[in-house]
Amino acid sequence: EAGVAQSPRYKIIEKRQSVAFWCNPISGHATLYWYQQILGQGPKLLIQFQNNGVVDDSQLPKDRFSAERLKGVDSTLKIQPAKLEDSAVYLCASSLGTGGKTQYFGPGTRLLVL
């Protein structure tokens, strides 16, 4: 069974530029999550999708971050414009559903904003 795929693996941009990350969840997983992991900290949820609908985006800085999951499968996370403090690893995870279902994580995208 293929795992969660993410691309790119690394990205370096200048502040005020825009960047987009892509995630392909495990086949059949209805729930998709984007986490931000700042160096030295645990991951923090940015947004949670159930199929193509948003379940929780309370921690998403909506003035600069946006995410979509148009067909209920792949998802993209965008930052525009990026700030220095956005430097982090962005992790995508998926699960069969909510509740106690185990979340499976992708390899992450490491973003460096200069």
Partner: protein, 113 residues
């Protein structure tokens, strides 16, 4: 509010020895789930073990086992016969219902040859 506390930022253990990583949490919920995830230098977050709060029996997965103390809100991870490949960051995480995972700040474990 849901919080997860890992009080040991770093730990080390000799290869083949046993080590225990601590985790405490706080919640007013009665039904919840606890997880230990491992994150090696490659950054891929890997599930190590999970525990449902309604189950009294401690979960085990090969060399990994937990000591779940519901009244004390404690969820420690024991790694037996430590191997070099166990070197990683270990995160304790907690989830209720449809809520997202709350992670602790992690414990960096180094297995010494």
């Amino acid at each position: 509010a849901q919080t997860v506390t890992q009080s040991q930022p770093e730990m080390s253990v000799q290869e083949a020895e046993t080590v225990t990583l601590s985790c405490t949490y706080d919640t007013s919920e009665n039904n919840y789930y606890l997880f230990w995830y491992k994150q090696p230098p490659s950054r891929q977050m890997i599930l190590v073990i999970r525990q449902e709060a309604y189950k009294q029996q401690n979960a085990t997965e090969n060399r990994f086992s937990v000591n779940f103390q519901k009244a004390a809100k404690s969820f420690s991870l024991k790694i037996s016969d430590s191997q070099l490949g166990d070197t990683a960051m270990y995160f304790c995480a907690f989830r209720t219902g449809a809520n997202n995972l709350f992670f602790g700040t992690g414990t960096r474990l180094t297995v010494i040859p």
